[in-house]
């Protein structure tokens, strides 16, 4: 399909601003003025509407397709939450209004949303305070690690140097720890998918700043030795960091704060059904216990004695500003509405059915694909397509086969410690009929891998494009319409 720039026709317009109603006609002194116009497209509104509507149709999405993307939790995003975020009283509210003297009076509704959501998050996770500011999960991780650093600094723990991370962790964990100035130590998993305690004990010493852990792990397994692990880390005054990527498996069943964790982040889209938007915006609130509370980012939302909600900046030990304002508010409003609608029982149901659905798929596929950990799983299960790979059909080929079946592929090649990994997370919002169809297609893929492994190289065949040449994309960099086309040097 043509680019919007290629549809441009000189002098065509998509929008009229109307004539100026002020008498002034000013100009920028030439020294400061733009020399050539920005070459944005010149297209009509209809051109734009058609272009982006047609583009949208080239996507798979939760609204149109089953999306069993393990670890990413692509559950249904209720439509009413979009309406909540579009309420003019939220949508058109300027963030600096709240920072004016007396500005809390003009922003009470928004501050109440932030305050109450914080209370609920604390209750769901067993923590003392939350900051709603982090703008995505990874941003929450960095915030959490900075809180860890602030804690060690306040205790005079100058020797702290390492953050311990299991090999099954998301890549964001080591990247966040490194940004905060820590070196990382990787710990292998044991045969049951839990942490190798002996390896942990061997790695922990006075230089250990903390541990980052996802529970259940990215193998979909709850860590049975979590108390023991927390004890080991706390014995050297280390901080226990909970990566909330899989919190959706624990609502009402366990709380990170009770399990011995000191700090956590929540990926709002995974547990609280906010839309993923093709890669964001997200929200990654960070919760802390008593130990870390005083270091939390500012501003914080408080309820004053006069009953008014207000921003409070008076925390001398705070790590400071971590984002421009109070978080991705329009995402947080959606999560607030979701929690309010589901309530206690409804939230527990999400966890129950997410785990039920995941186990159902695991059980049904176990005869065909090698299950990594042969036990009851939590909200997702990890398979290895080793058997199929031996026939010449790799995890990526199965993924591409599914695309032709109009199913978004599961996560493949993650966790990186599992060869030919296929990670399946159906979420609680999918129906049994849809899961049965998926199971049937996965079995078909296995059968085809025996009968005609060569067939897979052609998949997908029914999409607007076939397999892209990613090597060319990385060698002949063309990331803008305005960069010259690169002729194939190879």
């Amino acid at each position: 399909m043509e680019l919007i720039f290629e549809k441009s026709v000189e002098s065509r317009r998509g929008f009229c601003f109307g004539a100026s109603d002020v008498p002034t006609q000013a100009s920028i002194p030439s020294k400061y003025a733009r020399k050539e116009d920005a070459l944005l497209p010149q297209v009509s509104e209809l051109d734009v509407v058609r272009h982006y509507t047609l583009l949208s149709q080239k996507n798979f999405s939760v609204d149109t397709h089953f999306y069993p993307l393990g670890s990413c939790t692509m559950k249904y995003n209720p439509k009413f939450t979009e309406a909540l975020a579009s309420l003019p009283g939220f949508r058109d509210l300027h963030p600096l209004l709240a920072q004016l003297a007396g500005g809390e009076r003009w922003t009470q509704g928004a501050l109440q949303v932030l305050y109450e959501l914080e209370q609920w998050m604390c209750e769901m996770t067993g923590f003392k305070n939350f900051t709603m500011q982090p703008l995505a999960g990874a941003h929450g991780e960095l915030t959490g690690i900075m809180l860890m650093a602030a804690y060690h600094k306040s205790k005079g723990n100058t020797q702290k140097k390492y953050v311990i991370i299991p090999d099954s962790a998301h890549g964001t964990n080591p990247a966040s720890a490194a940004l905060a100035g820590y070196e990382t130590v990787s710990i292998p998993s044991n045969k049951e998918g839990g942490m190798d305690l002996e390896a942990l004990k061997a790695a922990v010493n006075e230089k250990t700043a903390g541990l980052m852990m996802t529970v259940p792990s990215t193998y979909g397994v709850f860590e049975p030795n979590i108390s023991e692990i927390a004890k080991i880390i706390h014995s050297v005054d280390g901080i226990m960091y909970y990566d909330g990527a899989n919190l959706n498996a624990l609502l009402g069943r366990a709380r990170p704060g009770d399990l011995g964790f000191d700090v956590m982040h929540v990926n709002m889209h995974k547990t609280f059904a906010t839309p993923h938007g093709g890669g964001g915006p997200g929200a990654g609130p960070v919760g802390v216990n008593e130990k870390l509370s005083r270091f939390l980012a500012i501003s914080r939302v408080v309820k004053r004695d006069d009953g008014l909600y207000a921003l409070d900046y008076d925390y001398p030990e705070s790590i400071g500003y971590i984002a421009s304002f109070y978080g991705n508010f329009a995402i947080l409003v959606r999560a607030y509405g979701y929690v309010l609608m589901l309530g206690r029982e409804g939230l527990m149901d999400t966890t129950n059915h997410a785990v039920l659905n995941a186990n159902y798929i695991m059980k049904k596929l176990a005869p065909y694909y090698k299950v990594c950990f042969d036990r009851i799983c939590m909200h997702e299960s990890v398979f290895s397509a080793k058997v199929q790979a031996a026939r010449g059909v790799h995890a990526i080929d199965i993924a591409k086969f599914l695309i032709d079946q109009k199913i978004h592929p599961p996560t493949v090649y993650f966790p990186i410690s599992v060869p030919e990994a296929i990670m399946i997370e159906p979420t609680e919002t999918e129906s049994k009929q849809m899961m049965d169809r998926f199971i049937e297609k996965m079995i078909e893929a296995d059968i085809l891998s025996q009968r005609d492994p060569a067939a897979f190289s052609k998949f997908p065949m029914t999409m607007p494009v076939e397999r892209p040449d990613e090597v060319k994309a990385a060698r002949d960099v063309k990331t803008s319409f305005f960069l010259p086309a690169v002729t194939d040097a190879a």
Binding site: R34, L40, V49, T184, G279, Y326, P464
Partner: protein, 445 residues
């Protein structure tokens, strides 16, 4: 009650039987009873219309009816209706990060177009597919400059948004970088002070145009000086102003960042917004965040993929260029649609309207006794005024008269308690500006 769960009691029974357990509780056997929540006290669920009513009531407790003359980097611009009708299409709105290119060409092409439009706007060669917001984008740019030069000294102009500077301070507090802040003199960057500090240890100079006080500048001379000692230059820009202002590329900038909220995003009480970053092609492998690239498929057709992924955390882990994963794709899409609808000529007209209306407001305000419009440097759509009294009190009084009068600079600049930052966008009418000036006169006298 949870209407989004589709399993019927009969189906639950069948599935449990397949799994081979008695009930759902049995699936949680790994979580020992010692780990049961100490409490899980949350409100009872509500119906959709009860939630709607509650949140509508809350939203009405926010005052969005005041006429806004407040900016500070975040502006009340008009957003063409098509922007939200297209960006909220489920196919965009409920898709994941485009890791499977064959079924994500919609998102990928839209992001490629976004990157192209950002290049057109800033004059730079390459753009990434977005970062969180203007402040965190500036932090990422600074880290990129430090990585690229291998140096650890940073010079930051005092005209850079104080919000951004606070963010950078937080992130670098525990790292051993050396920071220098230079003052703003007569509204613009202090050449004298910057030149005194620039040396061969300097990694980067961080600038903003227009600066936080609204003043515009030609930063070419500063950037040349930075390059002469091997330092890089970052310029944070306000996209709408680029309809009229000299591009950062023409000034020689190495990295350009900014807040993209003005490109079709609502104010949203602070987010989601759009952090953007552009750079020279030679630095593309040092850039953080996802980048979409053009390639061909096995049939030779043009298509788009996430490219240069070896920079990113999911491959390079602790050695990645950033920890960012989720960015703000949907906001980038909104910006792409906005820039397409407004178009080449529309952007210029929009910028001109902002300039004209701000100049009109300056004219009216300068007639008010005791009020001084600062004119030491030209401005775009935001400017600084000096009041005969504390700006906070004036703003509170103006609020009562139905105006968000501006942002008191004393909030972030101690000693500037009598200064007010006033923004005028294309949406302000002549009549609103006149009423605003009149109300301000009443408050001051």
């Amino acid at each position: 009650m949870n209407p989004y769960i589709t399993n019927t009691p009969q189906e639950v029974k069948e599935m449990l039987k397949t799994i081979g357990v008695e009930n759902i509780d049995a699936l949680f056997g790994d979580i020992s009873s010692a780990y049961a929540p100490q409490s899980f006290d949350l409100p009872k669920g509500l119906s959709e219309y009860e939630v709607m009513r509650h949140l509508t009531e809350l939203s009405l407790k926010n005052n969005v009816h005041v006429v806004p003359f407040i900016g500070g980097g975040y502006y009340d611009h008009y957003i063409p209706t098509a922007v939200s009708s297209l960006s909220t299409r489920g196919e965009f709105y409920t898709a994941y990060t485009p890791y499977q290119p064959e079924c994500s060409q919609g998102t990928l092409q839209a992001l490629f177009e976004y990157q192209s439009a950002m290049c057109a706007l800033t004059g730079m060669e390459v753009s990434n597919a977005s970062l969180y917001d203007g402040g965190t984008a500036l932090y990422e740019a600074m880290m990129m400059a430090i990585r690229t030069t291998g140096r650890h000294r940073v010079i930051m102009d005092g005209g850079v948004s104080p919000i951004y500077r606070k963010i950078i301070k937080t992130y670098t507090h525990h790292l051993s970088y050396q920071f220098e802040e230079t003052p703003v003199v007569h509204g613009q960057s202090s050449r004298e002070e910057i030149y005194r500090l620039l040396d061969k240890q300097t990694a980067v100079i961080i600038l903003q145009n227009p600066n936080f006080f609204g003043a515009i500048d030609d930063l070419t001379d500063i950037i040349e000086k930075a390059h002469s000692v091997g330092a890089l230059a970052i310029v944070s820009v306000y996209p709408i102003s680029l309809g009229l202002l000299k591009t950062p590329a023409d000034m020689g900038a190495d990295i350009v960042t900014g807040e993209g909220q003005s490109l079709g995003l609502p104010l949203n009480f602070g987010g989601p917004y759009l952090g953007f970053m552009c750079t020279r092609k030679k630095y593309i492998r040092k850039m953080p965040g996802r980048i979409v690239g053009e390639t061909v498929d096995s049939k030779g057709q043009r298509c788009f993929v996430n490219t240069l992924q070896a920079r990113e955390q999911h491959i390079r882990r602790d050695k990645a260029t950033s920890n960012i994963c989720t960015n703000v794709s949907l906001c980038a899409l909104q910006a792409a649609i906005f820039m397409s609808i407004v178009g080449k000529n529309g952007l210029k007209e929009m910028a001109q309207l902002n300039l004209d209306k701000a100049e009109f407001a300056k004219q009216l305000l300068s007639k008010i006794k005791g009020l001084e419009v600062k004119r030491s440097a030209p401005t775009f759509n935001e400017f600084t005024i000096h009041l005969p009294q504390d700006a906070s009190g004036v703003v509170a009084a103006m609020m009562q008269r139905g105006f968000a009068a501006g942002f008191p600079l004393g909030r972030y600049y101690p000693g500037m308690e009598r200064y007010l930052l006033v923004a005028v966008t294309e949406k302000r009418t002549k009549e609103e500006i006149e009423r605003y000036a009149k109300a301000l006169q009443e408050v001051l006298n």
